[in-house]
Every structure is written in C-alpha cells, then in structure tokens.
Amino acid sequence: MADVSIVVVSHSRQLGEGLVKLLRQLAPGVDLHQAAGLGEELGTDATAVAAALQQCPETNDILVFFDLGSAAMNAEMALELTPQSVAGRTHIVDAPLVEGAVAAAVAARSRLPVADVIQQAEAARTVPKILS
C-alpha cells in the first residue's frame, strides 16, 4: 500500500518495539521495521540496521529514525553495508524519534510523496506539543 517504509533505530529493543506498535496503530498498512537494542543490552548494531533496510520492499523509499548520535553513526555505517540499490533509497531523518516517526507514519499512510513525508517529520521539531 504505502511507498515509504520506516525503520526505527534505538538503543533499546523495548523502546523500538513499543514505538513500532504505536506507529502500526495509527498507520496500518505502512511498512515498519525496527533495529533496536544489542540483544537484550542497550546498544545499536549496524548489521541489524542493514538487515532491516534490506527487508523493506524493493520499490519503497526508506526513512530511518534514531534515538541518539551513536545510533545515527550506526545507521550511516549500515548504508555502507547495503547495496547502492537499497542505500540510494534510504534517508536518515534528522527529527525527534517519536514525534518525527509518528508524523511520518501518518503522512506515509496517506501516501504523500517521500519529500513531504520527510518534511512532516522534520517539522515535528517545531510543532508545539502542549496546546494553550
């Protein structure tokens, strides 16, 4: 259905799994993956990120959301471990993990163009969360 896949990279497997479940509820049908935790330890694993990227459907653009800087380093490393046919469709998004992924998932569900999906995720930085 959707032409954007989302990959969640987190140091915590629980955090990654929980976020993916949250996204699944608000964006059923969107292709979602996580590469979170180093087994049961806190950490990220570039080979797990690379494996997640390769699980995304071949024609999808892939957006990667991550928690901390070292997760971003492993995501960039993962791009070097995957063939250009996958890496070339992958964007590591500079957005808050939860808020950015939620905005992206909703936009991906509406099948917006990937540039718009990224823009919505990045805009999550500035959207007020508490209304007044």
Partner: protein, 216 residues
C-alpha cells in the same frame, strides 16, 4: 612488520587488555557518559579476537574486515562504528597484503584516521578518540619506522591524558559541555591502549601505562 599472525596476536592482546581495564573505562564513561565504554570495547574485541583466532585468512585485508564486522554487531555504542571504520580502512589499505611494513602501516593508520573523522565528524580538541589518533598517525607518517611507532605510542598516551582538560563538544559527553572537564575521554584512553598493544605486537618491548581511574 605486521603479519596475519601478529595481527591475530594484537587483537587477542588488545581484547585481554580491555577485559583487564574494563572497569577503568566504564568508570570514566560513567562520569561523563553512560558508563559502558569498557564493557562495549571488551565485548567487541573479545568477539573479534575469537572470530579471528578461529578463522583462516588469505591476507590482512580479510582479517581486518572480519574484525570490523565483529565489532559492528557486538560493541553497541559509538565506539562500534568508529573502531569498525578504522578496521575497514585497514582492510582497504592492506588488501592482498600478508605483510605490512612501516610505510604501509603509516598509510593504513592515516586512512583509519580519515575514516574516523568522516564517521564521527569530530576535529581535534573535541574530547574524542580523534585527539589520540591524530598525533599517533602524524608520528608514524613523519617517521615510518620503529622510532616513529614508539613516538606514536608516547604521543597517544599524552594526548589521551590531555583530554582531561577539554570540554567535550562531540559524543555523549557533549551533553555535559564544560562539566566534562576533569575526566579523561574513555575512547581516548582505549585508543592509547590500542597503540600500545599495536606497537608491542609489531616492535615489542612496549612499557604499558598503568591506567588507574583515580589518575584519569
């Protein structure tokens, strides 16, 4: 000369050293980060050492690539992609080599430093392992011989100790900014150990620093 055997010995020796000093590195990281640098590095290089000990390798390229992949899936923290990148650059530099002389060593270390800089986007003075790898690579490049290698070890050690006075601007310690002053960067200390063990495997007779948390 680095050979497949001395490289295997180096990885094993470095893994053992990290296991021995795991608590020191964890303590440092606990003060200015998340307290896992020793655990990450010991786990990663133990995995790498076991995988290289049990494998047979055509050349140093294949061996270093195996180390890199082992680190990627077992370190977990920032030091994972960083040290893995260094070994990937070694692998590229020493592809099809079964012997690495000092000139090639200099090329490999320079390529590794370049890789670390590209991966972590850090410059000298940001309180990261770049502060150690940079003077070490410079020393080997300036004198691609045993003297240069020993000079690299001594500069690496001094640079690692000097990170104590720097306010971090990269890595987790950057959250602390000025509050990170007064503690040595754990990745810089593990990098200084790296050069000690590397030089010992290549040239022998290296007097190893007694790293103690209280002095770092």
């Amino acid at each position: 000369m680095l050979t497949i055997e001395s490289m295997q010995a180096f990885i094993e020796a470095y893994a053992a050293r990290l296991e021995e000093l795991c608590a020191v590195l964890d303590d440092l990281d606990n003060r200015i980060g998340d307290g896992d640098h020793g655990t990450n590095m010991a786990r990663g290089f133990r995995t790498a050492a076991d995988r290289t000990a049990s494998g047979t390798f055509q050349d140093l390229g294949a061996l270093c690539q195996t180390v890199a992949m082992a680190l990627l899936s077992s370190v977990g923290g920032a030091s994972g992609p960083l040290y893995a990148t260094a070994f990937m650059r070694f692998a590229q530099s020493w592809n099809v080599c079964t012997h690495v002389d000092y000139a090639k060593l200099a090329t490999g270390v320079a390529a590794a430093l370049e890789g670390l800089r590209a991966r972590g986007k850090a410059e000298v003075g940001e309180k990261t392992m770049i502060d150690v790898w940079t003077p070490a690579a410079d020393a080997i490049a300036a004198h691609p011989d045993e003297t240069g290698l020993r000079e690299a070890v001594s500069r690496a050690t001094n640079a690692a100790l000097a990170t104590r006075d720097i306010a971090a601007t990269k890595g987790r310690a950057a959250y602390l900014g000025a509050r990170s002053v007064g503690t040595c960067d754990p990745g810089s200390i593990s990098s200084a150990m790296f050069f000690e063990e590397l030089a010992d495997a290549i040239a022998g007779g290296v007097t190893k620093t007694t790293w103690q948390t209280s002095a770092l």
